[in-house]
Amino acid sequence: MAQHGGPQQRIFSPLRTALHRFAFILLIFSAFGLMLLGKADTVLIERIRAASADLVSPVMNIVSRPAASINELTDKIYNLAHLYEENERLRRENQHLLAWQQAARNLSHENARLRDLAGYTSPPALHLVTSRVIADMGGAYAHSVMISAGSRDGVSKGQAVISDEGLVGRVAEAGYQASRVLLITDINSRVPVVVENSRDRAFLSGDNTNRPLLTFLTADAAVAPGDRILTSGHGGAFPPGIPIGVVSSVSENAVRVAPMFRRHQLEYLRVADYDLHGILSNERIQQSQSANNENTVDVSPDIPDGVGIVPATPDPAGEAQ
């Protein structure tokens, strides 16, 4: 186009540069607009994020398989090299665990008897969805992974995600066939926890390092390196007693926890539906919002309407007989 000199070129060339500059400024402003939108309308952004996860999940589902098999191969080579030591270690661990098994059997019998005596109501039944990790979004700014299960499989926002070792994170957005899991090490993650031995309550706050912090710990709390950290179940987001990690360091101003899982080895995760709605579900939020209006709008009692059998009100005379 540049070959054609002439009046047209003389008019359009500056016009085009002006247009380019205008487009550039417009894009800069829309980037900042997006940042504001991301802060303001979280529900909309969540939906878009879930949709984009759905969009790439078929590709990632296929592509992550060769990556997983390469990982398996390196694992195998490593295992072959360390076969002897590993065997010795497992032998010792097995002896140790057999002793624990005996203890656990005795305790579970005793526990069952005591529960019978005390009329204990058992916690809600657990529904697990197992899924594969298909993407690790990560790096320096966010700690999250994508799993190949979504609302299709019964996964919804806020559910606990656990690995063989313990709690990994929670479902941040659930798409139709894929969801994003926010790891407990992410800077946006807060999990109510309890120290196993001392029963001190605290929050486990991620800070984008591999060692999340214990925050809101009381001043007289007795925490030492090696203490196990479990979910406390407060807030109704997670059930109590899921292992999370071990206290790795205690200093003047920070208690850090080493999570049970190793992020680069996450392969299969289980999404646990404890039938707890948590504080994160949209229904809860809507309920809490509509609760404010309930008194002003809906004052009449529930009267069943329509044709059909109307549930009979209990007859006091009949009961008295």
């Binding site: 900042f32 607009g33 994020r49 592509v63 694992d75 993407a135 700014y141 680069h264």
Partner: protein
Amino acid sequence: MKPGVWQRLDIIARGLFPAFSVFVLLLINLLPISVPLLSTASPALALMAVFYWSVNRPDLLTGVTAFLLGLLQDLLMGLPLGVSSLVLLLVQTGSASQGRFFHNKPFSVMWWGFALVAIPALLVQWLLSSALIGALLPIKATLISYVLTAVLFPTVAWVLARAQNSLLRYV
């Protein structure tokens, strides 16, 4: 002679290749790789490709494309929305205007150029992400990410150059 429909479609498809290559690199960035280092800090592959194409073919990877690819990166990686859009847009505009400087120079000049461009790019990303999340993110992960990005650039650039030579010679 007027080009036929298929020929025109072919040209359009080839023209979309730079944007597509950035998308593929984004997906590669997402692959779960069991290397401990890579799970804490990953190389910014999309940044490399955006730099490469805006130096070599700024006509095929425009600012709008860079903006949209950044948006996709933010959506997929769970980053604060708009940050990558801004960074990639700035990198695209900056490198496209300086693109001529790198023409007919040895590859090492372009490598140095990229290493220089990546510093403010990752710094802006770190600062804006920290500001939007509301807490200072650990700078160590960003530093590791920068080193990985700078070291791996020749590999990515080599692949892209091969693709450019074979697919985009006449486009």
